[in-house]
Point group: C2
Chain length 207, copies 2
DNA sequence: CCGTCAAGAACGGTCGTTCGCTTTACAGTG
DNA sequence: CACTGTAAAGCGAACGACCGTTCTTGACGG
């Protein structure tokens, strides 16, 4: 019945990535809403029909891109926890910032620009929020765990709230990304060094 | 000859504010680009022609709104500096977060939602960036000054970079705003308390 | 020769903005 | 204080452009 003329699945995935890469570049440059599908389609090198074969709507394309960007970052943080190393809070925050800086700027497009656009989009687009929320919760969960261990080691008061301690660590990452993009004069290494200074003050039982 | 029919200037300003208030509410709810002028016009209770009498374009309206929101916050930070009090870095950061939390949520619309939208918009709209950049530079300047005084008081190493120390403090504010909106489980008082814990560790020469 | 993939013209709808008209409110006048 | 001239203030239908999406058509491989 089916004459099944199938293109190798790897080629389909490559096409999908081709669209995602092109759309990521355009969205990073011009935001989600201000970028038209015609722009994305032209950048992808394909046709409108082809793009709509792989993504049913612009919203689905946006969600897929946000998922790829914040999902990759969340995966890195999860890996840090599974490695089961127990760095100082100071070291954990500084290393996380350096990791995010490297992760977002290694490719041809600055993925942190997409992340900032995703923040705004998540406030109005439930589909994007549903992607962003668990990803950032995972990342913050890493810091919350670091905070708990810090409490166990006597670096933080035992009665402090680990969730909010973790939230302040998470802020160091968000704030770095934002200030680097908006103000342009924040250097990853210098920022990480400053973090090590400000977080190093807490008393430690191990040294 | 001229019957100069002038409406009192206060009435003109009131109309302008009426438009700004309505547009702020719509933009806070739906973002700048995804909100149409028709939506703004309907919310303002005026007509298209009237709105376009006070603002020459949507971009000008957006810039005016962003200016009002981030400008008000920047003014508060400038005032803190002029008061010439020299709080601990810990106290300065915690108080700043509580001030921003109160400032953005006191009115009928959450202004921090507009701020997050402005971050994304500033990445693609030079006019918005030109408004956002100096405002946030002013706010960070407050923290940089706090960092300098902290160094003078021996709370930070003398060879640390005050700009990046200030940047990490600024991150505490950005990160609070973002996590409260995206994750929804960050409490201002508890977050400020956590900040006081984590920043209190640095050695002090005065106590 | 069937089914898949890609192409791109075309679609209805919505966008930001304009413009000609009406209404409003005040200064001058007697 | 009533009247009137005049320009600002307001209105809203209408505009061209562009939006995201669909659909017809053709090419190609099994």
């Amino acid at each position: 019945m089916d004459g099944v003329p199938r293109v190798p699945e790897s080629h389909l995935a490559a096409r999908r990535d081709q669209i995602l890469d092109a759309a990521t570049a355009r969205f990073a440059a011009n935001g989600f809403q201000a970028t038209g599908m015609a722009d994305v389609i032209a950048a992808s090198g394909l046709s409108a029909g082809a793009v709509y074969r792989y993504f049913r709507s612009k919203d689905e394309l946006i969600a897929a891109i946000v998922e790829r960007v914040v999902g990759a970052a969340a995966a890195r943080f999860e890996q840090l926890l599974e490695d089961d190393a127990a760095p100082d809070p100071a070291e954990a925050v500084a290393a996380a910032v350096e990791m995010v800086a490297e992760l977002t700027t290694r490719g041809p497009v600055d993925l942190s620009r997409v992340a900032v656009q995703a923040w705004g989009e998540a406030l109005r687009n439930p589909g994007v929020h549903a992607v962003v929320d668990p990803a950032y919760r995972t990342m913050r969960g890493y810091f919350v765990e670091i905070a708990r261990r810090g409490q166990a080691a006597g670096r933080f008061p035992a009665d402090a709230d680990p969730l909010h301690l973790g939230a302040t660590m998470m802020s160091s990452v968000f704030g770095f990304v934002l200030q680097r993009l908006l103000l342009g004069d924040v250097d990853p290494a210098a920022y990480a060094a400053a973090l090590r200074v400000t977080w190093a003050g807490a008393p430690s039982t191990t040294g």
